[in-house]
């Protein structure tokens, strides 16, 4: 099913919310996180925020028709990721979820249906591990 501009706007919000949630985790655990973990999380946050920005660009340009992104599946994966980040306490797991979500964002930008499906599953797996 082609991705519409409404889907792209919704995905933009999902990626942005996920970036905010990971940031909240980073700032909440600031003093207990290692420098390296803080850096890794921050990197993922910016990548997710930029994925959100990519979705806005696509929604405004309305050029997503060929991507066959499976918007609902992607949104469900992003929602599961956000929920997991809000409840997880273990930094490794948060990093895994964030990394998988960044991969999903990149797959959508690359318009590769196979990669999108694979990465959406990876996000689900990381969020429910």
């Amino acid at each position: 099913m082609p991705l519409t501009s409404d889907d792209a706007f919704a995905l933009s919000k999902s990626f942005r919310d996920l970036s905010v949630s990971i940031g909240d985790f980073r700032f909440k655990n600031w003093s207990t996180l290692s420098e390296a973990d803080r850096k890794t999380l921050e990197d993922e946050e910016w990548s997710l925020l930029n994925a959100s920005s990519d979705m806005v660009t696509k929604a405004v340009g309305l050029t997503l028709d060929e991507s066959q992104a499976g918007a609902q599946r992607v949104q469900r994966a992003a929602a599961a990721a956000q929920k997991a980040v809000k409840t997880l306490n273990e930094v490794r797991k948060v990093i895994n979820v964030a990394t998988a979500a960044v991969g999903l964002g990149a797959a959508i930008v690359s318009k590769d249906p196979g990669a999108i499906a694979k990465n959406a599953k990876a996000v689900f797996d990381a969020a429910t591990a």
């Binding site: 919000k13 942005r16 940031g23 910016w46 660009t57 405004v60």
Partner: protein, 279 residues
């Protein structure tokens, strides 16, 4: 010394007035005013510029490792610039033609009309509904120019255009309300991450105070930008509503009560646009 009009002179004036009425020429000042205000408002393109430049502005907040992504995004948005500005241009061109016909003038030919037609041919709009609407409005504009339309064709212009015009303006409203607002939300998150981290790491009291003030300033700028976006959406919606009013009243445009209603739309439009321009 005051000269009194003679009987034959008065008869001549009365005849001239009758001729005007017979020609179908009417004083449509309110429509001309609405068209001219709409055309001015459609020229406002600062929001498009801000949207195109968002990835470049985000560079100041993000880690250097994100620069290649932001540069790609900046290039993609630069490529969208023309498409976005074309919507503004179409509204402006149409409103200029509307005003010219209302004044019983000939719509002028602008080479930009060719660019509009070409943009549609080159499929710059992936949304087929919008592409069709865009094409319909630009075709009517070309027809009005090549067929030398005058005031007598004003009703046809409004009648043929209202449907597609609403689609084109509606699409621009969506871009402004959803796209540009989402952009502000992203920038706000970036700003928040950047300053929160700096404030966590900072030790120097004076430095932290300065940072706090700078953060406030940036947040204020974003709020101002957000308000501009909201107000410009009102401007576009008022243009669309005003035009639809013209469509609904197309057969009685010279009636004083209709002119008064159009004048009211123009007044609202001016107020909304003044809010955008910060006047």
């Amino acid at each position: 010394m005051r000269r009194h009009r003679t009987g034959p002179e008065l008869r001549l004036i009365a005849l001239a007035c009758l001729a005007l009425v017979a020609n179908g020429c009417a004083n449509l000042t309110a429509i001309r005013e609405f068209a001219s205000t709409s055309s001015d408002a459609a020229q406002y393109s600062q929001l498009v510029v801000a949207y195109v430049e968002t990835p470049t502005r985000l560079k100041r907040y993000e880690l250097p490792s994100q620069s290649p992504v932001l540069e790609r995004q900046a290039a993609e948005r630069k490529a969208q610039r023309e498409q976005l500005l074309l919507r503004h241009k179409l509204i402006r061109e149409y409103m200029d033609a509307l005003g010219q016909l209302a004044a019983d003038g000939l719509p002028t030919y602008d080479k930009e009309l060719d660019a509009l037609g070409n943009a549609v041919k080159e499929a710059k709009f992936a949304d087929q509904g919008e592409a069709a609407a865009f094409s319909a409005v630009s075709k009517i504009l070309v027809k009005a120019v090549t067929d030398h339309w005058r005031q007598g064709k004003l009703v046809s212009l409004i009648e043929e255009t209202d449907g597609p015009f609403q689609v084109v303006v509606g699409a621009l409203v969506k871009v402004v309300e959803q796209g540009f607002t989402a952009d502000v939300e992203i920038e706000r998150v970036a700003l928040d991450k950047y300053y929160t981290a700096l404030q966590r790491e900072g030790k120097d009291a004076a430095g932290l105070a300065a940072l706090g003030e700078w953060r406030e300033l940036r947040e204020g700028q974003l709020k101002g930008h957000e308000a501009t976006i909201r107000n410009y959406a009102v401007v576009l919606k008022t243009i669309a509503m005003g035009h639809h009013k013209l469509f609904e009243s197309r057969h009685q445009l010279s009636k004083p009560e209709i002119q008064a209603e159009i004048h009211l739309h123009t007044k609202r439009l001016k107020e909304a646009f003044n809010a955008v321009a910060g006047l």
